[in-house]
Every structure is written in C-alpha cells, then in structure tokens.
Amino acid sequence: MTANIFINGLQYLGYILIFPGFLFCFVCGMLLTGIDRKLVARMQKRVGPPILQPFYDFFKLCGKETIVPAAASRTTFLMTPLVGLAALVVIQLFIPIHGFSAFSGMADIIVILYLLLIPALAAILGAAASGSPYAGVGLSREMVTIISCELPLVLVLLAVAKTVGNAMGTGLCFSMSDIADYQVQHGSLITKLSMIPAAIAFAMVIPGETGSHPFDTAEAETEICEGMHAEYSGAPLAVFKLSHAIKVLTLTSLFVALFFGGIGTGLVALDGVIVFALCVIATALFISFVHAVTARLKIEQVFKYYWTVVSGLALVSLVLAWYGM
C-alpha cells in the first residue's frame, strides 16, 4: 500500500518534472521559439539565429546580474515570474495528447481558460511591482489584449463544449479529457462544419495571447522599452522568456488538442502522438508566418480586430454549433 502510494507519487512527480512537465516544456518551448525565430528570419531573407539560440539566451540571462530597482517591491518582483511559469506548466499537464493526459478529469476548458490568465497576470503584477512607467504602459496594453482575446476565446470554447455535448448526448461538455476521447472515437472536431470558424478564430487568438506580431503591442521594445519587462534583468527575465516560449507551446497544443485531436495514421504505434506533434509544429509555423507578414497594430486596433472579426467568426461557430451543425 505504502509502496503503491510511493510509486504513484513518483509517477506524478515524473509527470510534473519530466514528461508533460518542466523538462519537456523547457526543451519543446525553446525549440519552438528557436524555429519561430529562424523561420521569421528566413521569410525576411535573413539567415537567422541558430535554432538553439533561445537556449543560449536563457543560459546567458541566468548568468547575469539581477538588479532589483529601489522602487520595486522585492518579493512580488522576484516571485511573479516563478508563479507564471509554474501555472503554465500546470496547464500543459492538463492538455491531453491524443487521449493521454497526465492528470485527466481535472481540467475543464473554462478552468484552462482562466488558468491561462495566471501567467499573464503574474507578468502584469511583476511589471506593476517594478514601478517603471514603461511597465505601466506595457501592462495596460497587456490587459487590453487580454480583454480583447477573452471574448473570442470564450465563444470558441463554448462552441466546442456545445458541439461535443451534442454528440455525447449530455447537451454540453466542459471536460478536456472527454473532448479528447470524443475526438479519438469520432474523428477530430475540425471535420465538423461548425468548428471551422472556431478553429480559425482560435488560431487568430494565439498570436494575441502569446504577444506575437502583430499583437505585440504590450512588449513593443522599440516604443516602450520592452514594456512589462522593462526593469527585469538576469534570471527573472530568463524565466519570463521561458514562460513566453512555453505559452506558445501550450496554446498551440491546446489548439491541436481541441480541433485536430484523434487524427492517426495507424501505421506505427505512437502515430497519434507523432501527428499531434506535427500539428503543433505546423500551428507554430503558421504563427511564425503571421509574425513575418504583419506589422504591429495599435492597441485600439487590436481590440477592435478581436471584438469584431475574430469574435464574429467565433459567434458564427457558436450559432452553428447551437443548431447542431
């Protein structure tokens, strides 16, 4: 009995620390960022940094001096990056990968939606704690971006809940693992008519949530000195960069888990996982592509764009889902 608990505990610890947890997130997130940077450079006819560049950046920042400004509140300033990172890793644990999730049955899509707020909130609090006026501007923009993304995201997730619920006969289904199981059994959600606008809307939300072009108003390094991270240096900054990398991974894998789950070739044993990974990479490439071909928007344009175009798409999807299409 005790041994059993011990082994279970060890297994869960392994989940948290290694596979869908820290190590995996660290490596994959950083690699995705590296690929993104390389790809954007190539699209601009540049050579671009090596794919391992984010790792170099991370380790270099770890070795730098960490300065706490005199005006900052020390604890908040130093703790918020860690909280944000931990929350992101926890979200990653809840996202099912082709039916496998480390902690199934605990995650509902609205919970995930709100957990996604925590990293952003941590960054915002850290920025506020630094006391910098640039960080103040940055955090206000980040907050407006969050508001902008929230409405389409909510609509998309409700549409998904309704679609899966319709198919399962319960009317609505919030559980992430149920959605994954459904897709494994009935094919991925993207094959449904109602889910196509939702998928497009979700894909458009990803750049906004991760703060990538053209929605990177919050971290506009050329106008407001890196915005929220203006006063961060050294290891905390490294953690923020890592969080950003993991956020890309999290959102893309959430996207794939919601819309492209359950695609398998049936040729090899782990085909589902491989297809999943490929889908994640493809989505990341799409984000890079958007990054490369757009210029930064003004914050009010970001808001307008999300609350009209993207929300409109999501609403169409919700209405279609409501009438069972």
Binding site: R37, A41, Q44, K45, R46, V47, G48, P49, P50, Q53, F55, Y56, D57, F58, F59, K60, C62, G63, K64, E65, T66, I67, Y134, A220, E221, T222, I224, C225, E226, G227, H229, A230, E231, Y232, S233, G234, L237
Partner: protein, 146 residues
C-alpha cells in the same frame, strides 16, 4: 558544468542597447543596417534590447552632449554585470568635429571605462560587426572572471 554553459552562452547571445548621445544619426543608421538581411547579426545571436536592464553591450553614439551626459551615464550604470561598453563612431571617442565645443563632454572614456572603440565616421557595418565580436570576447572573459 552549468557555469561553463553560461560562459559559453554569454558569447553567443549578446544583446545590444543603443544610446544616442546627440549623434548626427549616421552611426545609428549604420547600426540598424547591421540588423538588415545583408548583414543580419541576429545569426550571431545579437539582438537589440529595448531596455538597458536586459542588455549586455551598450553602444554609445554621438559626442555626449552636456545635456545627455548624465542620462548616458545613468543608463550605462543600469546595465547589469557583466557588461561591455562600446563607443561607435568618432564622436564619443573624442568629440570629433565638435571637439572643444562648450556643450560637448566627449570623450566618454573620461567618465566610464570603455571597452571597445569602433572607429569610422560612420563605421562600416562590417567594422561594427568586428567591433561587436571583439565586445563579445570581452564579455565572455568578464563572465569568466565573475
């Protein structure tokens, strides 16, 4: 091992912070040219940082006018260690044609220790890349000393 990794990485990802202390913009344009597809220093890991807190290398252009002196010095002091200060163009190194003016405080080296001077008015992008490469070597050495 971790320390070695950090020291190795320090040379591979130097981030720049650019301070214009009253420059004519010639050097600034050249510094931007370094980031363009033709020269593309990002392949060496260079990146322009928005804030001095995140920078490793401070690039100063311009003849350090009296108005900007204190600002330049405080911005430089806000860069975390290990850091490397690079003056670019003739102005911060000596004052160039503005030498002797009542409003110019150049050279910068009488206020802070300058690690690398990149000569030229304005320097050619290749020269800037060379200078920055030298700066990364110094950076790595400084990291080793820490």
């Amino acid at each position: 091992m971790f320390q070695k990794l950090i020291a190795e990485s320090a040379a591979k990802s130097p981030w720049l912070f650019h301070i214009n202390s009253g420059s004519c913009n010639g050097c600034d344009i050249e510094l931007v040219a370094v980031l363009t597809p033709r020269y593309d220093v990002e392949r060496l890991g260079f990146k322009l940082a928005g804030s001095p807190r995140q920078a490793d290398i401070v690039v100063v252009t311009g003849p350090v006018t009296k108005q900007s002196l204190n600002r330049v010095l405080s911005a430089i002091s806000q860069v975390p260690e290990p850091r490397c200060i690079v003056t670019m163009g003739s102005c911060p190194q000596s004052g160039n044609v503005f030498k002797g003016s009542y409003s110019v405080c150049a050279p910068l080296s009488q206020y802070v220790h300058v690690d690398v001077d990149i000569a030229g008015c304005a320097p050619k992008p290749e020269a800037i890349i060379d200078g920055l490469a030298k700066a990364t070597e110094i950076l790595k050495e400084k990291r080793g000393r820490m």
